[in-house]
Symmetry: C2
Subunit: 302 residues, 2 copies
């Protein structure tokens, strides 16, 4: 029998405009994206990943990154982030008004190759330069490691691999590390074991968890993480998203469902669930398909 001590405050990193929309076949017109992000900025969310500066040919859904980065309404309460894969992306990033650079690497060699067409070693060299240049330009950097709990091509991923990559990213100068369950294959025991190891090296404040709900286990994985003291979670409003290079990887953990569970447990998120729900309704209408989150399906606003 366990006594739990959950955190009092949790910070949700909204990744819907990037991780969510990048997987949608419908191109959301730029002005609608901006309007949606502006709604999110007013919902109490204090972190929004708004776009990605990858080559537009790779992810046409986010080909308007430059305009987004210049025209969203900046709220002083919110940290805005965007994905930056390389130096060319960084120079585009720096022309906008985004606060934080997100860099990406996979724990699986095969997934990394399929995702960004580079080996892990090649990717590290690129990211190292991107992180250094970002810091020189007074931008903070967040690192993502994907396929941390399993890879569609390589299967199981050893904890040691994740540790070594985490060390590399922190050595480069990232401030926060997001551990991605890209294909939604993690289970709570695995989450606990990984965090037990990682938390010997880094404080909880440096780590965020990024779960997908492909197999219905995301919320249980959140609970396991909360139990280890984790206070930062990536999620996507309405459950938008996935990973275009990982088969069957659809279904980010839904921000609205996560916010429901956290607040019902008495954990503060500072999010106005009515505003959140109305932003979900907005993007659902633009996408013209029903969103996956339970909150949207059952019309809940709490």
């Amino acid at each position: 029998m366990q006594k739990h001590k959950f955190p009092e405050r949790v910070y949700i990193r909204e990744v819907g405009p990037r991780d969510g929309l990048q997987n949608e076949s419908t191109f959301i017109p730029t002005k609608d994206k901006i309007e949606w992000i502006d709604q999110l900025s007013l919902s109490g969310l204090n972190y929004i990943e708004v776009t990605s500066f990858v080559n537009s040919e790779w992810i046409p859904a986010l080909s308007d990154a430059d305009i987004i980065a210049k025209h969203i309404k900046i709220s002083p309460e919110v940290t805005y982030a965007a994905l930056v894969p390389n130096m060319r992306g960084l120079s585009r990033f720096l022309e906008g008004q985004i606060d934080e650079v997100s860099v990406f690497i996979s724990a699986s060699e095969t997934h990394n190759k399929k995702n960004i067409n580079k080996t892990i070693t090649e990717t590290k060299a690129v990211l190292s330069e991107v992180v250094r240049e970002s810091i020189t330009n007074k931008k903070t950097v967040r690192g993502y490691i994907s396929t941390v709990f399993g890879c569609p091509y390589e299967g199981n991923i050893e904890i040691d691999k994740v540790i070594r990559l985490s060390d590399s990213l922190f050595e480069m100068g990232i401030e926060e590390l997001s551990l991605g369950d890209t294909i939604g294959i993690a289970n709570p025991l695995q989450v606990t074991l990984l965090l037990e190891t990682l938390l010997k090296r880094y404080p909880t404040s440096n780590l965020a968890m990024h779960f997908h709900n492909t197999r219905g286990t995301a919320m249980a994985n959140v609970l396991a993480s909360l139990d280890m003291g984790i206070t930062k979670f990536d999620s996507s409003l309405g459950g938008l998203g996935g990973c275009p290079y990982a088969p069957g990887a659809s279904g980010n953990l839904a921000t609205d469902d996560l916010n429901y569970m956290l607040t019902s447990m008495g954990i503060q998120t500072n999010i106005d669930s009515y505003k959140l729900n109305s932003a979900a309704q907005f993007i659902q209408e633009k996408l013209n398909r029903p969103l996956d989150s339970h909150a949207v399906k059952y019309g809940m606003t709490r």
Copy 2:
């Protein structure tokens, strides 16, 4: 930071043929129901709630209870159960080949009234006779308490109410108590708090948890329960079901998703996931609508 010790073996109580099908608008032909239950019997599940002996006018979907109870193929590995609301139901039950009687009461006066048209006190009197007569006929009895974590009409339910009802049911002679989150409103903290209280009175072996996934929290609630030592969970293959008298209560926790999470955590369930998946495909075809479970949606068989 917590150290977890999860159970080595978990027992899944499959409630799809009863709690699932009772909410479907499509009447599944009796021979298909029997074939489906026979498939479930061969999947490794060791407990199946196969039907309900309520008045057929109330739940037309299960109006063939008498035939089901006589014609399913009985496996010696499986305990078969059926819902029995009153003495008339019990005499029908006793003509079949079912092992265990399930009796039902709600923790909420209003929900109980809407569900079975009796006050809690009146229901207790009826159940008391049903349990006594069942035991006389050498049948074991399982008690359900519904709306344990919240009621669509009365809102919050006090733990004391649940404790008093649990005591009454155990005094009557039930062997196992299933605690139902009928409207899927429970959160893991609430689950932990209730179990902390209940486990001071009863051992884990007497308790089962019955979660619905209405708000996406069922699997996290399972994890919280496992952490308290609970080893019995009700679920419904493919996520079939809900409660016809509780608005927005659709969505039983899906057996296939639950089985995935448990086995991936190294917890034994003794279920053959391929056979489980093929039974899910069978009933999905008969219902002619996509099932809700992640396992079915993503075509997983593990």
